[in-house]
């Protein structure tokens, strides 16, 4: 364990990793737009981290990691939805998260998992993507984008005008559950690439940056997907070169994108102020 294996030669295997990562970025960027719009950064942090317990459970029972991740991501999303129905959403999210993390600690103590495996689950590893993940990832991406398209108007209305949405026949709780389901789906497919800890970076940084450049929703979503793609490509390329964890590069690149967005809106604000005076 004291020496990591040398990076393999660029192969068909890496092309698959590249495709999977790009799909992940598209879904993350699109779902992330609504995460930022709804101010649900905490949920986007809690669902993936809670689903970590699912991966531990899956390795304990001996089923596929993706299944464990999916079940726990869904369970966490539903738990957050129902617990925050009458009460403070941030408290509900925090308690659901710590409970699932506690379950994860329990499952880990039962299994004899090797520490590096836990590490790559938390922080991602390019080499962790295998060829047979291509099918499930594409299927999950199609479902996520489908749900997003169906819920699009309702999500937008309930995010921007939560007070008048019920008058337009939009059930707030239903939309919230649909949104949580979306986050859970996106989580399940993203974990194997960037790890549970850094998914929400991908769901917050690019969309927040995109919103600084434009206020139109379609343009913002497209821009957000574009930035997410760049972030993931850069992260994978650098991780491939240095063998450092993908999560590190994703976290830093997302923060840089956000900083660029903030600088842009700050500069524009200063320019406007100058024009006015």
């Amino acid at each position: 364990m004291d020496a990591k294996p040398d990076p393999p030669v660029f192969s068909g295997f890496m092309v698959n990793a590249w495709i999977v990562a790009s799909i992940v970025a598209v879904v993350g960027g699109a779902v992330g737009f609504f995460v930022v719009l709804r101010g649900s950064a905490f949920v986007a942090h809690a669902v993936p981290n809670g689903s970590f317990a699912g991966a531990a459970a899956a390795s304990l029972v001996g089923v596929s990691t993706l299944l464990g991740l999916g079940v726990f991501a869904l369970g966490g999303a539903l738990g957050i939805g129902f617990l925050s129905r009458r009460g403070r959403p941030d408290v509900a999210t925090a308690l659901t998260l710590v409970f699932m993390f506690g379950l994860g600690a329990l499952f880990l103590s039962f299994s004899v998992a090797y520490a590096p495996e836990i590490y790559s689950l938390l922080f991602g590893e390019v080499l962790g993507i295998s060829t047979n993940q291509l099918g499930p990832t594409i299927a999950l991406a199609a479902v996520s984008l489908g749900v997003l398209a169906v819920l699009y108007r309702r999500l937008l209305l309930s995010s921007v005008l939560p007070d008048s949405a019920p008058a337009h026949g939009v059930a707030l709780f239903g939309v919230e559950l649909g949104f949580l389901l979306l986050v859970a789906l996106a989580t399940t497919m993203t974990v194997p690439v960037v790890g549970t800890a850094l998914i929400f970076s991908l769901m917050i940084g690019p969309p927040a940056a995109a919103r600084a450049f434009t206020t139109r929703p379609y343009v913002a979503i497209a821009l957000s997907i574009g930035i997410a793609l760049v972030v993931v490509w850069v992260a994978i390329a650098l991780s491939y070169q240095t063998n450092w964890p993908v999560g590190f590069f994703v976290g830093i690149a997302s923060a840089v994108a956000y900083a660029a967005g903030r600088t842009w809106s700050f500069a524009r604000g200063a320019r406007r102020a100058r024009v006015k005076s």
Binding site: A41, H45, R88, A94, S109, S201, P245, G247, A255
Partner: protein, 286 residues
């Protein structure tokens, strides 16, 4: 009869005594700070500071100093950055918290990676995240007590203005209270409290103790002073019960090496919160 509940050697074990003492201090500090965390809706910041502390803890492993100092330095720095880029609106604040948390997590990943590559401490990831109360060193007790007193003292010193600024920022501004400064000082106190508990009992338990008992207490009573005491009591109770169960579980299936304390404590905290919501108390918080 008692031996059925307390496995032999529970009270005489020095590691149990130390775990109980540190756990109690941390729970009381977390209860005091946590009531304001819940009132101000800053659970995410509390969670994030604990996680970011992991970056400090892991860099401390790398540098070879005691993790407590790494946790402290990084959590306080992160609180400062959050305050700097955080807009005052709740949504902007969550976003700022998330960005700082993402960058912090990324650094934690790198430090843990470098640490495991160079000196082979493969268990570092697990220790930093999940902590281990039974493996504490006696030397942490005075440090924990001092930092805990600083965090609690800050809250008590700021008590009245902090309460007003948390419940009604507009009214506080109208009375010419420095709301932003109070918020910043509170964030620093929270960073201290969270880092303290994260390094001793793990990042998960730190959030559980910060948010759970306080939210439960605020369901039961509306008065902040009473809520702080109730939260402390619930926290200490959950911590001690968790330690007892973890100690007993040494003989439980499947592996006979003990279930993690964190699992028991978070379960107790969650159950307490859910049952407090089932009680239709008079005049409780919505």
């Amino acid at each position: 009869m008692t031996s059925a509940i307390f496995e032999p050697g529970f009270f005489s074990s020095s590691s149990v005594q130390l775990a109980g003492a540190v756990g109690a201090i941390v729970a009381i500090v977390a209860g005091c700070v946590g009531v304001f965390t819940v009132i101000r809706g800053q659970s995410f910041a509390g969670e994030a500071l604990g996680d970011i502390g992991a970056a400090g803890g892991s860099s401390a492993y790398l540098a070879g100093v005691a993790p407590l100092w790494g946790f402290m330095a990084v959590a306080v720095a992160a609180a400062g950055v959050m305050e700097m880029i955080g807009i005052q609106r709740t949504r902007g604040r969550d976003l700022a918290t998330g960005i700082v948390l993402g960058a912090g997590f990324g650094l934690a990943a790198l430090f843990l990676y470098l640490g495991t590559t160079y000196d082979n401490t493969t268990g570092a990831t697990v220790t930093v995240l999940f902590g281990s109360v039974f493996a504490l060193d006696t030397s942490v007790l005075p440090l924990v007590a001092v930092f805990g007193a600083v965090a609690t003292g800050t809250i008590l010193l700021l008590y009245r203005p902090l309460l007003l600024a948390s419940v009604s920022p507009e009214l506080a501004s109208a009375r010419r209270l420095p709301v932003r400064v109070i918020g910043g000082l509170y964030l620093l106190a929270m960073a201290l409290a969270v880092a303290l508990s994260a390094v001793t009992i793990g990042a998960i338990l730190s959030t559980a103790l910060l948010v759970g008992p306080a939210a439960t207490a605020l369901q039961l009573t509306r008065r902040p002073g009473r809520a702080i005491m109730t939260a402390g009591l619930i926290g200490v109770g959950a911590m001690w019960l968790g330690i007892l169960l973890a100690y007993d579980s040494y003989y439980w299936p499947p592996l006979h090496h003990g279930w993690p304390v964190s699992f028991f404590v978070v379960t107790i905290v969650l159950l307490a919160y859910i049952s407090s919501r089932a009680i239709p108390a008079r005049g409780r918080q919505a």
